[in-house]
């Protein structure tokens, strides 16, 4: 292509659109995809005291909460690979989750009653995560106690793995699992985030 040519270069530049216009078309696509039932995963990010959180939901419910340290782009790619590539930035489906998290971080909410899609955790890890929801707000439990609750008293290490791979941190409270000696233990969002969450719950 001759780039010095006025006409062909005009064609190559022609019909430019504004980001605003594309955003409106994007919104229109989100609405149509939702209506047609082909929006397999919707996501948005929310700001929080523990940094920006990525929230993702299928039609069944919240499927993923991710810390920035997990790399949101990589998390979205993993959702594309494991669930479906039909993923759009579509905040509306996550409105109630975002609101619930806001209330939680403001100290006004002590539990989450959101629809959850558990498909990203299977086997023993899934058993552990379900048990975690029984640890009350403001309380903590040791890895060993959770192993016991999950029916495998010797599986404290596996409980640690289940917590480290929790697809729904904050909402499924793996931050309430600490070491038996009182140490804070590990956290997938970083020790500092765990400290913030435990302090928040202790203060309420």
């Amino acid at each position: 292509m001759n780039t010095d040519d006025d006409l062909t270069s005009a064609l190559a530049r022609a019909f430019a659109e504004t980001p605003d216009h594309l955003r409106q078309l994007h919104n229109r696509l989100v609405a149509a995809a939702q209506t047609d039932g082909i929006l397999d995963v919707a996501y948005r990010t929310v700001d929080s005291p523990v940094g920006p959180l990525l929230l993702a939901a299928t039609e069944l419910g919240l499927v993923r909460v991710a810390y920035a340290s997990e790399n949101h782009e990589a998390v979205l790619q993993a959702l594309s690979d494991r669930i479906s590539p039909r993923i759009l930035n579509a905040p509306a489906r996550l409105d109630s989750a975002a609101r619930a998290l806001d209330e939680y971080f403001a100290g006004r909410r002590h539990g989450f009653d959101l629809p959850i899609d558990w498909r990203l955790s299977t086997g023993f890890r899934s058993v552990v995560l379900h048990r975690l929801t029984e640890i009350e707000y403001g309380r903590t439990a040791s890895y060993g106690t959770v192993a016991h609750l999950a029916g495998s008293p010797k599986a404290a290490r596996a409980v640690g793995t289940a917590c480290a791979t929790n697809p729904l941190p904050v909402v499924v409270p793996c931050h309430r699992v600490v070491r038996a000696d009182g140490g804070i233990g590990e956290y997938l969002g970083g020790i500092e985030a765990k400290r913030i969450l435990l302090a928040l719950e202790a203060a309420a």
């Binding site: 022609a14 019909f15 659109e17 216009h21 994007h26 047609d36 082909i38 594309s80 690979d81 993923i87």
Partner: protein, 169 residues
């Protein structure tokens, strides 16, 4: 692990180009509908698209079909010139570029369908002639000829090209 990009990434990467192609082929009035139908239809089929497919050519092919549907739906194509603020969502009106775009849209609209499409897919979207041919049907040579014929006509009918040529220092 397929590593297939999220559809959000596809829209971000190709949304602008597809919109420009739609504007070139069906005019600004119908471009938004063509874009929306193209991406909705693409999203429906996306899980089955081979991971190594040329996504842009695939999208342009879908846009091509949607544009034909729209053109048929409106009977004889409405001439997308002459209405100054025809863009349903007025975008940066008042820019001098818009006037040139309007002139170009008018000149494009007057071309026969094949020529207009070949020009849009090659010169606006930047697809190679082989991909243009795959979209239009027919040979690569035929696609090249259609584009060349279209460009030859535009050189006579697009005032912007002529006037700026005259102003050249």
């Amino acid at each position: 692990m397929t590593g297939k990009p999220t559809f959000e990434a596809i829209v971000a990467r190709h949304g602008a180009t597809v919109l420009r192609v739609c504007r070139a082929v069906v005019g600004a009035v119908d471009a938004d509908d063509a874009w929306s139908e193209t991406f909705l239809s693409a999203m429906r089929a996306y899980p089955d698209l081979p991971a190594d497919a040329n996504v842009e050519a695939w999208l342009v092919t879908i846009a091509h079909r949607k544009a034909i549907d729209i053109t048929r739906g409106t009977g004889r194509r409405a001439i997308p010139v002459a209405e100054p603020n025809q863009a349903p969502i007025a975008a940066g009106a008042g820019r001098s570029g818009l006037d040139l775009d309007d002139e170009l849209a008018g000149a494009l609209a007057a071309l026969p369908d094949k020529q207009r499409q070949a020009v849009a897919y090659h010169y606006v979207a930047g697809l190679p002639y082989a991909a243009v041919a795959a979209t239009l049907g027919g040979s690569t040579d035929a696609a090249r000829r259609a584009a060349a014929d279209g460009i030859a006509t535009l050189r006579r009918t697009y005032p912007g090209a002529a006037s700026r040529k005259g102003n050249r220092r």
